[in-house]
Subunit: 467 residues, 2 copies
């Protein structure tokens, strides 16, 4: 048994800030001088240091000063084998896949290349403060194995699966439905719930899956109901039109996944930019989740995700946020928050009546505003709820795994520190409001340079080098 | 007479890439092993080093290795006194001004505060590779004087002017039309064309100017026809509606500035998100320019600037790009390019027929695509043309002022270097295409960390510290 303490300014969430409109701080907790007690990588206790410390005599405490300690970030949608082509110029979804993505991903059938790429991937994640991701790999079993091996080596909580595509991809890249089924089953047996690994049955996207492959996914989910399902949904208008021409019995994109019994808890659909109100409503009822990937939606010109609609209390959809690296051009969830804020504000303008007063929806416009509370909840506890892993991670509740990030609010471009100084009365945050203002500065003015340390299961895996 | 040489990989422009659709490289020049010869801060010669070096025996050459040397960046729209509040949370234009901006700007009537803020401003500019800006100051003469003093101290090419507002601002901030006129005239006499300073008559935005102040601007422009005019235009739908209710004789936003004789060459209107086709057309005919500020337009939710419309050859509008810091949340023109690309791609989707085939406009959609050529032209030669200073800066033509930036294509977040490695066959760029791919990586995956050195008038004013 190893017992350690971490002291510093702790910021985490106990509820969804969207449920506390106008009083979002009720969803958060801030301990300006807090203590985390960690036993074998699991949080045993948390609270004000002065109250807690006497209960653990002899506790070895690491003091993390002048930092905001927040739960590790959760990336709900990311493509491991696109690390090298992130943000490559410059098409919309379908031509971009053909030109840049498949030629790079196919390299991951070489175990050495897969290992190099996967190591670089995890290094970049940790340097960005991301401790958990739900990832796409490739059609090659070796790429998925390499992913789980590398995640295990770092003891990180991850979700991933063999990423199936058997049509609408180059011949050199497609898999067969049969092979996908067999290898997925083997991988589930080998990796699901081994250590911190979780398995997601992963049809890449509906247009890339024949009916046979979709049936195989359905079969896999029936045989392994504990597994996750991860895919894409309604990213691009051209994609949607093409898909529906292939599934004439479906009235919308979600309907294709419903036809094969995939939509329910633990289902994640990445993007959802063009989801209709009816699709949001069915996802809400079924407990399925959407993954909002704003960097990617802007970079590929997919469109503006309707954040205020997804968070409508009458049909609230579970949600995580994702980079969608390399369709997204950034590795850092802080950049995701920046672009998420921007997408929300642009949607807001359409709904606040300033463009067309007849379209005004003040409540939805308000929900489009990504405050620091909503933002950091979305990449910690909210993301964990969207991925159905909030029993394991997401905040500092006792019993959860001790993944966290120490944020230096002055890290970032040259103007950052002077900007942040307006948020503080003293040297460091003493109130929830000061802490929230610093977090907003980190997401809008800073970037992953704010990530000073990243800890996984109570071990420090990343420390920023001195500038 | 001081003669110096700079050798390295030179990349600049001789024409507008939008005029060379499908062959954009025709607008650019790339010398993988080039030489700049600089005499007293002015470019005397440029070309391949092997050809040029023998002509200048004894020339003292500074070799800048493993960098791309590009002209200094031009920021067409930035607010000096918002350095500390950049990206502050979180409203649309009008409430954001009241809550954050005016309370900060008023501090600049204190000369000490003005000096501290202005120094930090220029430090951040140079660290971002920006060597020229067209800036807003405040209603206080001292803030404008401090700006020109600090620019002179660094010998930077700048455009700015006393920033007038006499209504729709707090009492503690507004100026009178009379005082604005008198102080503007004094500042013009003192600073216009002194050193590298240029003066812009600067009514902050039409809604902040009474008819009396607009008449004073007209008078100032008549009395000083050589001066620039800098303001805002059509940023926000609510603003536009309010403005037109105050000017019932005007059919659109541009019409208000036209009424007072301000629209012509050397006129810059920041934003122009909601400009109509008719307004674009009149601006084109009159030689007036729009400043595209994508970080700001997204951050404040103002909307998506129609890049492909502004660049329509039948009514091409002169254009510079700007941060609009602090309405924009970044100091770096590289981040501006990132967001400009994203805005273009989102507009593109609306016009490529994928959302509504009936709205398809393939040519305009193509013009919305901000390639590396279009991007870097826009913040160098294109920006200089938009500001009518392309006789002075913007590329490496002999006779121009030697402002340039040495870009480290591997600078940026952790994944940058591996990403950039796909663009190169060897160790460094040998072809125009390789250089352009690196530049695209710099703008989408990197950030101002790519700025390794910034030179002004042949002097190095910024060198990045080693990480």
């Amino acid at each position: 048994m190893t017992l350690i303490g971490i002291s510093g300014a702790l910021f985490d969430f106990v509820d969804d800030p969207w449920k506390h409109v106008g009083r979002e701080w009720e969803a958060a907790r801030f301990e300006p001088d807090g203590l985390l007690v960690i036993e074998d990588g699991i949080i045993k206790d948390r609270g004000p240091r002065v109250a807690l410390e006497p209960r653990y005599p002899g506790l070895e405490i690491t003091h993390i000063k002048d930092r905001l300690i927040v739960p590790g970030f959760i990336d709900g949608h990311i493509h491991v084998p696109q690390t090298r082509v992130l943000g490559a110029y410059g098409e919309q979804l379908l031509p971009w896949l053909q030109k840049w993505v498949f030629p790079e991903e196919v390299k991951y059938k070489d175990p050495d290349y897969a290992q190099e790429g996967t190591r670089r991937f995890f290094d970049a994640l940790l340097a960005s403060g991301t401790t958990t991701c739900q990832a796409f790999t490739t059609t090659h079993k070796v790429a998925t194995e390499t992913f789980f091996e590398e995640a295990s080596r770092r003891n990180m909580r991850v979700i991933a699966g063999l990423t199936g595509i058997d049509r609408n991809a180059p011949d050199y890249y497609v898999d067969s439905a049969e092979n996908f089924y067999r290898e997925s089953a083997e991988l589930i047996a080998r990796w699901h719930r081994q250590g911190r690994n979780l398995y997601a049955i992963t049809p890449r996207f509906a247009m890339g899956s024949s009916p046979e492959m979709m049936q195989r996914c359905e079969q896999l989910k029936k045989e392994n109901p504990d597994c996750w399902v991860n895919t894409h949904i309604s990213e691009n208008p051209a994609e949607i039109r093409t898909l529906l021409s292939l599934h004439e019995d479906c009235s919308d994109y979600l309907g294709v996944y419903e036809k094969y019994g995939l939509v329910g808890p633990k289902f994640s659909g990445g993007h959802g930019v063009w989801l209709s109100n009816a699709e949001f409503s069915r996802m809400s009822q079924k407990g399925a989740a959407v993954v909002f990937c704003p960097c990617s939606n802007l970079f590929l010109g997919s469109g503006l995700f309707r954040l205020g609609r997804a968070t409508d209390p009458s049909s609230r959809v579970k949600m995580s946020f994702g980079t969608d690296m390399g369709g997204g051009n950034r590795f850092s969830m802080l950049n995701v928050l920046e672009d998420a804020y921007k997408v929300g504000m642009c949607n807001n303008t359409l709904l606040d009546g300033s463009v067309n007063p007849a379209l005004q929806d003040v409540s939805e416009a308000e929900r489009n505003k990504l405050s620091a509370y909503r933002a950091f909840w979305s990449i910690t506890l909210g993301g964990a709820e969207g991925l159905y892993i909030d029993d394991k991670i997401g905040n500092f509740e006792p019993g959860k795994e001790a993944d966290f990030v120490a944020l230096d609010w002055n890290g970032g471009p040259p103007a950052t520190a002077w900007h942040q100084s307006i948020a503080l009365a003293g040297e460091r945050p003493e109130t929830m409001e000061e802490a929230a203002n610093l977090l907003f500065g980190i997401m809008m003015v800073g970037d992953e340079r704010a990530v000073d340390e990243t800890w996984v299961m109570g071990q420090r895996l990343y420390k920023k080098s001195a500038a």
